[in-house]
């Protein structure tokens, strides 16, 4: 035995001593995909899914601030969030989360550019405008022109929010040209890898046009803002915008398995184990009452009935920030969940990313502002009908028409006398149409045009006069790793420091 071991060691020595020239060239990973072996079709599916997932499930806090949702009676208060007293560690995942996805898009864009896959390049540019829009809408000035360049800009400087928005519109110009002129067959595997539109050029052009309108409507309150040249680009393209039934959604093949469920379903309805996914977020009384006291049946579609109703309160909500005694009988199981049947249809449903509902409301507002031609009333009523259809309301069109005909200020076009009142009406109905669908948009519109006008503030005892924050603080990581640049932005007070479009 001993001899065998010695002998084998000698053999190994001889074998290894015969050094070849590439003897030390063994440092290429056999385990991981590297920048050399990645390709755009391997990046696109995951980043499309990740963006849709973040947009649909990451905005619980704005949903609570804005009166959509509230904390269930099972949980104790979250002092920082409910008193609007936000710090540099609050919501820090937003900054890192968007840059993480934007990094994938940036790598995909450069790779696609290098190998002439222009369709992928155009998609990367388009989706990047969503990411930077979310960053600007929460932080105003952020790294943009110096981002994604570790070798030369390890401490990326910040760009102004308005300059970023201006460049996003330029990027949409470029994306439109790239996609319009792309030869689909040059873009390997795009029919499978593009899990939004399956590589359909017209759909992407509509998406770009709608995204352009969204960036313009954001800036509506800036004095002297003139969107005419940008609107002309939408008109010139001729593909139109996302219309009724044309919701852009992501479908990689969701299934009822660990980590593979539809993101909204998984976050707010049911886990793959069959357990309830969310016993924290519950209906906010403000929204629940806005539906119920105005003959609006949509509360049954955006909210779940209580699992075990108390005192026959099938639909039960909470007041945001209220500190309830432990003796309060309404716990999570006795109140309305936020994954209502109009939103959570199954674990395998596609995940919406840009809904027809939102698009129609954007168009209605643009028409009312005179940016687009057409009847503002028709566009408004179509948008409200689209909301009923999207939620799967029984006899959706008829029910929506009855609702539209009610002589209630919350819905009646004719009761809104002035152009300003009509903008408020469109905004209010957009607010009522988007709970759970796009919580972030409601926070944007509240800051932009002040809807809903009668939103109550948090009942948190330590609110101390604060109001709904106008933005987030820069994340603590920036103070740690990019200190000089973040401090150059000066002191940020989320109670008074505004986003550039918030006037």
């Amino acid at each position: 035995m001993k001899k065998i071991i010695i002998f084998s060691m000698l053999l190994l020595m001889i074998a290894t001593a015969g050094c070849k020239r590439d003897f030390l060239d063994i440092n290429v990973s056999p385990n991981s995909v590297t920048p050399g072996s990645i390709s755009p079709d391997l990046i696109l599916p995951r980043v499309e899914h990740a963006i849709a997932s973040r947009m649909a499930t990451a905005y619980r806090v704005p949903a609570s601030w804005i009166g959509y949702w509230a904390r269930s009676g099972t949980y104790g208060p979250n002092a920082e969030e409910e008193s609007y007293n936000i710090t540099t560690t609050f919501g820090a995942g937003e900054f890192a989360g968007w840059y993480d996805m934007l990094t994938d898009l940036d790598i995909m864009e450069k790779k696609a550019n290098a190998i002439g896959q222009t369709f992928y390049e155009g998609i990367a540019k388009t989706l990047k405008t969503i990411g930077f829009m979310y960053l600007v809408d929460q932080y105003n000035n952020v790294p943009y022109s110096k981002a994604f360049d570790l070798a030369n800009n390890i401490l990326p400087a910040y760009d102004k929010g308005d300059a970023i928005y201006a460049d996003l519109l330029v990027q949409l110009d470029n994306a439109l040209v790239l996609i319009k002129n792309a030869t689909v067959s040059d873009n390997k595997n795009i029919a499978n890898a593009d899990i939004i539109f399956g590589g359909n050029q017209t759909s992407w052009r509509r998406f770009i046009n709608t995204q352009r309108l969204k960036l313009l409507v954001r800036q509506s309150q800036i004095p002297g803002f003139n969107p005419a040249a940008q609107i002309a680009k939408i008109t010139a393209d001729g593909s139109g915008m996302i219309g009724s039934g044309q919701t852009a959604s992501v479908q990689p093949g969701y299934l009822a398995d660990n980590g593979k469920q539809n993101p909204f379903w998984n976050a707010h309805e049911q886990l793959y184990t069959g357990d309830e996914a969310d016993n924290f977020n519950r209906a906010n009384n403000f929204l629940l009452n806005a539906y119920r006291s105005n003959t609006d049946v949509r509360f049954q579609y955006v909210f779940d009935p209580a699992a075990s109703p108390v005192n026959n309160n099938t639909y039960y909500g909470y007041n945001y920030g209220e500190v309830l005694p432990n003796s309060d009988p309404y716990k999570a199981a006795n109140s309305s969940g936020v994954g209502g049947p109009g939103l959570s249809k199954s674990a395998t449903q596609a995940q919406w990313l840009f809904t027809s509902v939102e698009s129609l409301f954007l168009q209605a507002e643009a028409i009312q502002r005179g940016w687009l031609p057409g009847s503002a009333q028709t566009a408004y009523e179509n948008a409200v009908r689209e909301s009923f259809i999207f939620l799967g309301v029984t006899n959706a069109v008829a029910t929506a028409n009855n609702y539209l005909a009610e002589a209630l200020p919350i819905v009646s076009w004719s009761l809104a006398a002035t152009p300003a009142a009509k903008i408020t009406l469109i905004g209010t109905q957009k607010y009522l149409a988007l709970p759970g669908i796009n919580n972030f948009e409601a926070w944007v519109d509240y800051r932009r045009i002040g809807v809903p006008t009668n939103l109550p503030l948090s009942l948190a005892p330590n609110r101390a006069g604060r109001v709904i924050p106008l933005r987030y603080q820069y994340p603590q990581n920036e103070f740690n790793y990019n200190n000089a640049n973040v401090n150059a932005e000066g002191t940020i007070n989320p109670q008074s420091s505004t986003i550039f479009w918030d006037r």
């Binding site: 020595m13 391997l42 993480d100 790294p143 994604f148 740690n480």
Partner: protein
Amino acid sequence: MQDAIIKGIVPDDKNRRTGIRLSSSREYGKFKISMNTNYIQSNYDVFDDGAMGAYNASQNVGLNNGLMNLIFNTPAHIPLTSYKDFENNPFASYNGYFNDYGLNPYFAIDNWRNTGRSEDLISNVDLGFKATSWLSLTYRAALNMTMNTGRSTSKGEVPTAFGVGRGFASIPGAVSDFANRGSRLSSEAFANVNKQFGEFKFSAIAGHYFRQTDNKNTSVAAGNLVVPELFNVANRTGELAGGSSFSKTRLVSVYGSIGLGYKWANIELTGRNDKTSLLSKENRSFFYPGVSASFIISDAIGAIKNSSVISYLKLRGSWNKTGNVNSIGAYGLSSTFSQASGFPYGALAGFTANNSAPDPLLTPEFVKAWEAGLELSLFKNRVGIEATYFHQDNTDQIIPIAVSSATGFTSSTVNAASFTNEGFEFDLKLTPLIQLGDVRINFKGNATYNTSVVTSVYEGLDEVFAGGFNNFAANFVVRNNPAFVFKATDYLRDDQGRVIVDQITGEPSQDPNNKVFGRTMPLWIVGLNPTVSWKNLTFSVVGEYKGGHTAFHKIGDDMAWIGISKATAVNHRENFVFPNSSYEDPLNPGKYIANTNVTLSNINNFFTGVYRDVASNFLTSVAAWSLRAASNSYDLPKKLLGSAKLIKAVSVSITGRNLYLWLPKSNEYSDPDFNFTTGNTSGVGVSSINPPTRTYGASAVITF
């Protein structure tokens, strides 16, 4: 042979270590061959803390990781040990346990287990050939193999309707199996020359060294078992999880040294060139030299040689440079991509860039060190003194630095951080200190002073994160500060250092700029080791002092959340004025008025909110004296062993470890030597660490 069964302080934890060692050698004339083989097997069955933490995280439960946290979550009047029988006692069961915010620890211990075996085989063979009286050749081959196989299991639990009503979710039954294998093969050949020319002595070594490491890790897991407690990955729904990875590295070195000696003086030059597969072609080869010299003054100078006071005096000094690339592993020069968030979905793959991007042109890190020292013995070797001064310049240290996520990554491994390290070591031996007849008292003491200064960090960066809890209490490398220091959150303070509170709520707020607190490594380490012996009985004590450094105690934060720490009971849990605080003068912004009357409006919010966000509340000095060990041993007198030569010696002893600790008042928490992770980070204690234990032992050594 060795066989040890170790039971931890966690109920049901078992660990058994069995080792066998063989060594043999033989000479055939000028040849010599020797061989050693050591095989160690450890079998373990322990609580899987990580899996419980992962479950809590998936439930978004405020409960933190760690078994100790479950105990912190238990009020002091609860008779915890009466909840052992969670299978039959309804009040101890998953559904019925009284605590909404924590599991029954006995249930947790039973549910999540890690079992497995690790095996180490260390063997080497030496071949020697003495060619002439002055030349010898040696070849040495060594093989280290480690094999780890194990599994983590979760038994799983489905809540009853009662449990669901309390908001309890099901715990999936799960199993994860892994098999890791690693080997390290080295081969070394060197020639050694030793030649005496009169009073001069010449020596030289030339050698070649080669090392190859191979690792293969495989794991497979199922997260949702169908038949409970049948731990086979085939017994599942959903997809199989797992992965496999390989790595291989090589290192080739040549080295040599030349030494020259004259009676009382020695000088030696060394040099080594390494080539490693870990670096790029242009950077993989690096050379590092050294020189050392010593003079035995007591031999050189006649007056000292004949002195009755000084029995020995030697001066020594050395300078050397060493290089290494130990901080990176195989394939560490490239960023990578992984599938994420549920991908692949059937035929659809989806990759995302991982968050770290190394500099592809990393170079080795170097240390240039010089030291000077003396060794002195007095009074016929009764007093021994050794003193050394050392100075090290560490340059281009390979470290991962955290970067703004706007760069596209969150961490980048670069050559950064240069720092100097200097200090002295002092050893004192008094043998014997006192001798009274058969009673002999010896004393050994040593002291080390070690300080460091970071001279540069990275182009454009003055500091980097090195480990710990980022944005809370972390180890940092900060220019012009020691390596490392704590950087932690603190209260917002005015220019006089008073904590600024809100004029209405009385509540302080957190400063967004983290501040530098003390060093993480001790400045002073002092060890004292007196020994008293009387005939065959020996009593010895090891005392140790470490001081000048700071540690962070996460348990302070965890205990504040539950309201069981000392701080949360201050002022009988009534509202109070925050000590040494001020508020902004409403008429004079930027000026602050001393706060004497605005009390905290809600101490519950304070202690669960900003108090916990401010890590400086849990940073303390950890200077401490400790009685690390004491032992009492007795050698049986030879005459008791009888004349039979079967047993040559018998020695029995009792020992105690960690017997006592003297902590500063501010440290209400724990022994600071307990760290939350291996690696670079130091001084960060968390609740997943089990508390330090005092141990006693007895042993008997019989020599045949």
